[in-house]
Symmetry: C2
Subunit: 172 residues, 2 copies
DNA sequence: CGGGGAGTTGATCACCATCAACATCAGTGG
DNA sequence: CCACTGATGTTGATGGTGATCAACTCCCCG
């Protein structure tokens, strides 16, 4: 898993995207990358030199089409995240985030509880949500106190009541 | 000019994109649109039925390539806006917004002052920046008091000191 | 046993939201 | 011509959410 992040001149950081296995990272047709890329777990990357890659896009229509589809999907995701950053409360942000992670990392879609291991530190979660570490921590313990999730240890999260969690995440 | 917006279930709105003349709007390869589109000014749209449009993309490589480039640019812009929404203060948001508008609407890049007419109401500016109308209004009057901008009337804005405004916008 | 990073919890503060009153202006109809 | 209305914008008072500052715990690893 990778994080894609941007930062202000004075060091404030915002994670603008999370990349899962089989995702694409890079910015064809631009001189310079605008974001920094950081590995959150051990990672195996398949690297292509820019020029040959762009040439391949030109020569293989299907490849270009695939990239277009992925880019459109990434744009949708980015916009959903804009709604979250601009208009959701801290609790809604944390709840949405946990549901997102469960969706990507959760085992088979079981009816009962789901558990997974967060690949992010609290600080990184804060950078995804536009919050501080302390606020993230407080919201997580609140969700735990209310019985919606379990926090057995460090990075492990258990979704106890997905329905209720979705209600706290509000919006789409 | 058009606005592209998303909303939470309980009605909070976030503008996720602004479209200028010659821009593209639409979501090929998806069943349903995720956002609502609203005209901010009188607008002339060139509409294509989905199926023929997608077919045209398949048959005209150059067209598909153009759309890919535009989509990548839109993604960059969306991510820049995520940094703004998540990590900037109200003053920084308003300053960045005004610079953005000046960039798009301002006349020729003169050394002196630039003036333009905001196509957005305060409420819409607030929805772009993830703020409330009142906060937007207050920040604008503060920038005016400090001599960085002028607000001759209603929607008209004059950039008096671009340099200083850029400093208040901080980040990239 | 010591050290450092990660996470939690508490106390306080500041920024921005909220609520409310008022100002301004364009459009409408008396 | 002017009062009336509604939409838009400004300004003020107050409060709450989340940031900040700080202390402490827990682990992992030396």
């Amino acid at each position: 898993m990778l994080k894609l992040s941007a930062a202000t001149a004075d060091g404030r950081e915002q994670i603008v995207g999370l990349l899962y296995p089989a995702d694409f990272v890079g910015r064809p047709f631009a001189e310079e990358a605008e974001h920094s890329v950081t590995a959150l777990t051990d990672v195996e990357l398949c690297v292509f030199p820019r020029k040959p890659f762009e040439a391949a896009l030109e020569n293989h229509v299907r490849m270009e089409r695939l990239l277009l589809r992925r880019t459109l999907a990434a744009l949708d995701e980015a916009r959903a995240r804009m709604l979250m950053l601009g208009r959701k409360t801290a609790e809604e942000k944390v709840a949405s985030f946990l549901l997102d992670m469960a969706h990507h990392l959760g085992g088979p879609r079981q009816p009962g509880e789901t558990s997974f291991d967060l690949p992010l530190t609290r600080a990184q979660i804060a950078d995804v949500l536009g919050l501080t570490i302390e606020t993230v921590s407080r919201q997580m313990t609140k969700l735990k106190r209310d019985g919606l999730i379990g926090l057995p240890s460090g990075r492990v999260v258990t979704i106890r009541d997905r329905r209720a969690l979705q209600e706290r995440a509000e919006a789409a």
